[in-house]
């Protein structure tokens, strides 16, 4: 019935704007509304949103490159957080760092942790792809929609990785006490420095990925593999290697996301699942498979979630991301930046 009402792209945008206006009016009518609360909602929303955006970026990257949705991506995020935390604990015992850099040791340790999470999760992702996903592609289907086995494998991998992490680090939530200095004052608001740091590093990673994909030779190869594996083969690209690289980069970005979240919240074995679901919502909102769309979708979901839980009801915090996803799918099924369907050669 609904597909008979052809509303077109412009109609979609108008209806969506009406929804946004109703939502804004609802928020403004809330008794908690003030400039101060709006400022903090925006900063918290952006900092949470960039994390959703980073994980969504990985999901979108894997989707464009491998044509499957990786449902174990949240676990790479969680293990990345643990990798960063482990490095943090190791470096925290080294007294020479305190002696050599008395002013900046907190920052140095934290940057090393981020780097560790990035590299170790990249290698771990390549390992997982080579050992668990590659044999499935050889059985048939390959990295296509027909390769449903990989999606099921993603769910299984998620359960296995959670339980392995449970065995190694036990289920107690662990603090990540990175010492990054005192809260910063921005526009009359005192913000923990980790919030700013999350946004800055997150945007930096996204910009780095954009540069890598658009300006380097390897990035050109990745875009080619994402478009068509056959044609990439014919121009001499080592396609299996590039598929591993795509998977590795996506996992490395998730690992950075995990380490960024650590100091603000806590590191716990079960943190991956809800992040995966919300990042999935962010990817859908931004347009599935579109990389800038993933970041914008992440910000949208983050701000929407924070604003709703502040102005509407805080007891249903985890609901709002999916509410937004459903509204976007109803009105604008392609998301903000998505194209109708991925073109296949």
């Amino acid at each position: 019935m609904f597909n008979k009402l052809r509303i077109g792209k412009r109609g979609e945008n108008i209806i969506f704007s009406v929804f946004v206006l109703i939502y804004i009016a609802w928020c403004i009518s809330s008794p908690d509304m003030s400039i101060e609360s709006l400022k903090s909602v925006l900063t918290i929303g952006l900092s949470v949103g960039i994390i959703y955006g980073l994980v969504a970026l990985g999901i979108s990257l894997i989707y464009t490159g491998l044509d499957v949705v990786n449902f174990s991506h949240g676990e790479f995020f969680m293990i990345g957080a643990f990798a960063g935390l482990t490095m943090f604990n190791v470096l925290g015992d080294q007294e020479w760092i305190f002696n050599v850099f008395p002013d900046a040791y907190g920052w140095i340790i934290y940057v090393v942790c981020l780097f560790t999470a990035f590299v170790s999760m990249g290698l771990f992702g390549v390992f997982i792809e080579r050992v668990f996903l590659r044999p499935l592609t050889k059985k048939g289907g390959g990295y296509t929609v027909a390769g449903m086995g990989i999606i099921i494998c993603g769910f299984g991998l998620s359960v296995v990785l959670i339980n392995v992490a449970y065995l190694i680090w036990n289920p107690v939530a662990k603090p990540f006490p990175a010492e990054l200095g005192l809260p910063m004052e921005i526009g009359g608001l005192f913000l923990p420095i980790t919030y700013i740091w999350m946004i800055v590093v997150g945007l930096g990673v996204a910009a780095g990925l954009w540069f890598f994909l658009n300006k380097t030779k390897m990035g050109l190869g990745i875009r080619a593999v994402a478009f068509s594996k056959d044609v990439s083969n014919l121009v001499g690209i080592n396609v299996p290697l590039y598929i591993s690289i795509i998977f590795g980069i996506a996992c490395a970005i998730a690992g950075i996301g995990g380490t960024l979240v650590g100091p603000t919240y806590q590191v716990v074995v079960f943190m991956g699942y809800i992040i995966l679901m919300k990042a999935f919502a962010a990817a859908v909102v931004g347009g599935f498979g579109n990389l800038p769309g993933a970041i914008v979708g992440g910000f949208t979901v983050g701000i929407f979630e924070t604003a709703s839980s502040f102005y509407i009801s805080g007891s249903h915090k985890d609901l709002y991301a999916f509410l937004l996803m459903i509204v976007v799918l109803m009105i604008k099924p392609t998301g903000f930046f998505g194209t109708q369907v991925k073109m296949k050669a």
Partner: protein, 240 residues
């Protein structure tokens, strides 16, 4: 240069080629003709490594290549040029060509080859910053051939370069293929346009039901009754 011996291959469990034999001499143009579904493209795909050879062997430049992955075959100088629709539409013409030279080591080689391709196809030079999606059918085919030439191949295999193009453009493209051969490359051309292909080629093969049915000098094949027959599916149309 290229020697295909008793090649058996197919997709999944469906066998398409039933022991095809072919030979392409150095610096010649060889035409591979046949109707729909006879296995022309399958021979190309097996040769460039996109599908495995089940039985038989493929030899290129004195080396067995049927067990190599596709990118290794490209780096040995054997490149398949697909039909014009297989370009990367969201990339510019120059980016598409750069991808063709993906296996080149230095920037200088890449720029030299770009120059060479623009020399063959000046139209691409005019449109080098445009997105490939905005090109016309003939320009897309030129882009595809240009992309194949970017990696300094010894031999290129063209998959229906005249498909769905105006006769004027087909003529232009075929002239360029002849020029490419004069510059020292070997060309294998798979065609539906039998007459044009035979005018261009030195030698021709006609494939039917996965085996080579007729072969011979292209001038001779042009007047051969059995070519027409096998091209039309092997049964004489009974028109009264």
């Amino acid at each position: 240069m290229l020697k295909i011996d008793q090649l058996v291959s197919g997709y999944g469990t469906v066998q398409i080629l039933n022991g095809a034999n072919m030979k392409v001499e150095n610096q010649s143009i060889v035409a591979l003709l046949g109707g729909n579904g006879t296995g022309k493209s399958t021979i190309l795909k097996a040769t460039s490594g996109l599908i495995r050879a089940w039985k038989g062997s493929i030899e290129f430049d004195g080396e067995q290549i049927h067990n190599l992955p596709p990118h290794e075959i490209v780096s040995r100088g054997l490149v398949q040029v697909t039909q014009g629709k297989d370009v990367f539409p969201a990339m510019s013409v120059t980016e598409n060509l750069r991808l063709g030279g993906f296996i080149l080591k230095t920037k200088k080689q890449l720029n030299d080859n770009l120059e060479k391709v623009f020399n063959y196809f000046p139209r691409l030079n005019e449109r080098k910053d445009q997105l490939a999606a905005t090109l016309s059918g003939g320009e897309l085919q030129m882009l595809c051939i240009g992309r194949g030439l970017m990696s300094n191949p010894k031999m290129i295999m063209l998959d229906e370069p005249s498909a769905a193009l105006a006769p004027q453009i087909v003529l232009d493209i075929f002239k360029n293929i002849n020029r490419i051969r004069k510059d020292g490359l070997t060309v294998l051309i798979v065609e539906q346009n039998v007459r044009m292909a035979l005018l261009l080629a030195d030698y021709g093969y006609v494939i039917k039901d996965g085996v080579i049915n007729v072969e011979g000098d292209s001038k001779k094949l042009m007047y051969d009754e059995s070519v027409k027959e096998s091209y039309l599916g092997g049964t004489k149309a009974n028109v009264q």
